[in-house]
Amino acid sequence: MQPDPFKRLEARTLVVRQSNIDTDQIIPARFLTTTTREGLGKSAFYDWRYTGDDQPKNASPFPVAGAGERQVLVAGPNFGCGSSREHAPWALLDYGFRAVVSSDIADIFKSNALKNGLLPVEVDAETHAALLERPGVAIAIDLEECTLTTEDGIAASFTVEPFARRCLLDGVDPLGHILAHDAQIAEYEAAA
């Protein structure tokens, strides 16, 4: 299943300042008994959005209806730490996010996000601090140029692992890429 191509995103930000937002926050483990990847948006940040008896929380930073135009999640450092559950980017995408911006994003989450068309953007500390102060700001993220700009003048560049970037821009299929090296894999196996 190939994600939609990602070239340029123009949206607004939703800010959660906390550090170390782990994948149990993004989608609690009790929702992991699913055997499909669809429809997980309703479980995204569930315990931040709903009370113990499933009533919407008034003070939640996450609208009940979904991300709407706030398709860019700006979060504190070490976002996505913890478990390897790919349900985390599945849930964020289904909720309506297309990119996550932080000063650092946990390795496995980053890898999982890229494979699903949720762009993880790691920016310098100064840009990060400025974005945390501007919830709702209009933002443009350009994957071709690897730049991030806001309506009020923040401009930063970022890097994305080149292969993952190509997969997102051009729709390259990573599994197809490995399968195309079948002969080398067979050779490796024969030598082992």
């Binding site: 299943m1 300042r17 906390q18 550090s19 170390n20 782990d22 149990d24 926050q25 609690p28 483990a29 009790r30 992991l32 008994t33 699913t34 055997t35 499909t36 990847r37 315990d47 113990g52 504190g76 450092p77 070490n78 730490c81 913890g82 478990s83 390897s84 559950r85 790919e86 650092d104 946990a106 390795d107 496995i108 890898s111 999982n112 494979k115 699903n116 692992e161 080149p162 292969f163 190509r166 990573p174 599994l175 890429h177 490995i178 399968l179 090296h181 079948d182 080398q184 894999i185 490796y188 196996e189 082992a192």
Partner: protein
């Protein structure tokens, strides 16, 4: 050129080297599979008409969604939800369809994925090992290159036996000096994470070295490598040595006879060359480590159990402190404990259970405290019962359960109640990890057992015999 253990493991598994454009294609020697992170990967095989390339290098088990209570009078297992039961059946049918060996619910070898791999002798030095589970770093204890992957990558490995990876940077964490009596591998892990931070290992493959690491049993090394991911490192590893070989010799899936001798000779070549270089070096003073607990909602918020709760220094810490309800500058020991969980891929092995039993023997779990002891595998359960450990626990008033992940991830129905303080030998103290509103304190088995007996946060040394402290 001098190479590290990590360099040697990496080099030996490169099918196609990495270039500026593309990551390396890395061959995987062992793929471990469980019910939670695999269904969508098998679905991709189905969609694309692919088969499993190497079922012989794939081992499946059931652990996350499985009940730890036996079947009821109606013969039915008490699954938390229908979805959980369906997920278990889904793995059964996927394994049957693709010819993968599954340790089913009635298999005497079934257990937590990171417990059974080593136990069966599947986990070996020199292997690359992956699983759709972040605690796959556990297997690095054997001098293997082991790391957690996402479900998309599980699909890649099923179809091709390979993953796409950029080589991470390398870090060596050297524990200098010897541990004090009564201090164990979990305390080392928590002290290390407190020192470098929950993202201190991000982007690195970590080798744990030094006198205190060499002195650890395989179980202890597994606990330490298991927690590497809690410092942000996908990979944790320890160089194989006589302790490693002694653990593996004679195990079901370990090499036998002449093959064994040849394998050991190969494995002896794996440790880092004396002048190997690392991108980052960290030292931890092992002699200064005390029994540790966590007091926040990230594993790096860890401190000696005998100390006081620190005052929060920023917004995140203030929020964590409000959630955990430890009183700043007051002793941890003043905090009342509601529930204790001893188990998980971090601390559910026989040595962990012996350590907990040593503290609980002849004592009683404090009134109002629920204690749950969940062995990591069927094999451990049987060994523990043969030694009478189950009786020690049940006489103390603790519950002795069937193997599984249980309260570590709390998706099988085993969980705490809102507001409860749970002392847990697992690996994550995240908000709500062990049930909505549950306040989790991470600790080693002796500390967790001491807390169960005391009914509040407690120093295990007050409950351990001198011999037991020396052995821990």
């Amino acid at each position: 050129m001098a190479r590290s253990l990590f360099d040697k493991l990496w080099d030996a598994h490169v099918v196609v080297p990495e270039s500026e454009d593309s990551p390396a294609i890395l061959f995987i020697d062992l793929h471990l599979v469980h019910e939670v992170t695999s269904p969508q990967a098998f679905a991709v095989l189905e969609e694309r008409g692919l088969s499993v390339r190497r079922p012989d290098l794939t081992q499946a088990t059931l652990d996350h969604s499985t009940p730890t209570l036996p079947a009821g009078a109606d013969g039915r297992l008490p699954y938390a939800t229908e979805a959980a039961e369906k997920q278990v059946h889904q793995l059964e049918s996927n394994c049957a369809k693709y010819g993968i060996d599954l340790l089913g619910l009635d298999d005497a070898r079934r257990g937590i994925v990171h417990v059974i791999g080593p136990e069966m002798g599947l986990t070996q030095p020199g292997k690359t090992i992956v699983c759709g589970d972040s605690h796959t770093s556990t297997h690095g204890a054997f001098g293997a290159l082991a790391f957690g992957i996402g479900t998309t990558e599980v699909g890649h490995v099923l179809a091709t036996q390979c993953v796409l990876q950029r080589k991470p940077k390398s870090m060596r964490i050297t524990f200098e000096g010897a541990l004090s009596p009564g201090v164990g591998a979990k305390d080392m892990a928590l002290a290390m994470i407190a020192q470098i931070g929950a993202d201190g290992g991000q982007g690195y493959a970590v080798e744990f070295a030094g006198e205190a690491v060499q002195a650890l049993s395989m179980e202890g090394r597994m606990t330490l490598c298991n927690m590497a991911i809690e410092a942000g490192a996908r990979v944790g590893m320890v160089a194989p040595d006589e302790t490693t070989f002694a653990y593996l010799e004679g195990r079901e899936r370990a090499p036998q006879g002449e093959d064994w001798e040849a394998a050991v000779a190969r494995w002896r070549e794996l440790p880092s060359d004396p002048d190997a270089s690392f991108d980052t070096e960290v030292t931890v003073d092992a002699s200064a480590i005390r029994p540790m607990i966590t007091y926040g909602v990230s594993p790096d918020a860890a401190a000696p159990v005998t100390g006081n709760a620190p005052a929060p220094a920023n917004d995140s810490e203030r929020e964590a402190a409000e959630y955990m309800r430890f009183v700043a500058e007051r002793p941890f020991a003043e905090a009342k404990v509601d529930r204790v969980f001893i188990g998980s891929c971090t601390n559910s092995r026989l040595s962990d259970l012996r350590e907990a039993a040593e503290v609980m023997r002849g004592r009683t779990v404090a009134e109002g405290v629920t204690a749950l002891i969940v062995p990591g595998s069927e094999a451990i359960r049987q060994q523990a019962e043969a030694e009478g450990l189950d009786a020690v626990f049940t006489r103390a008033g603790a519950e002795w359960r069937l193997p599984g992940c249980s309260m570590c991830i709390a998706m099988n129905g085993d969980q705490g109640q809102p507001g409860e303080l749970v002392v847990s030998t697992s690996n994550r103290n995240f908000v709500g990890r062990q049930g909505k509103g549950v306040r989790t304190v991470l600790a080693g088995p002796a500390t967790a057992a001491a807390c169960a007996i005391a009914g509040h946060i407690a120093d295990p040394s007050e409950y351990m015999s001198t011999e037991a402290r020396d052995a821990a």
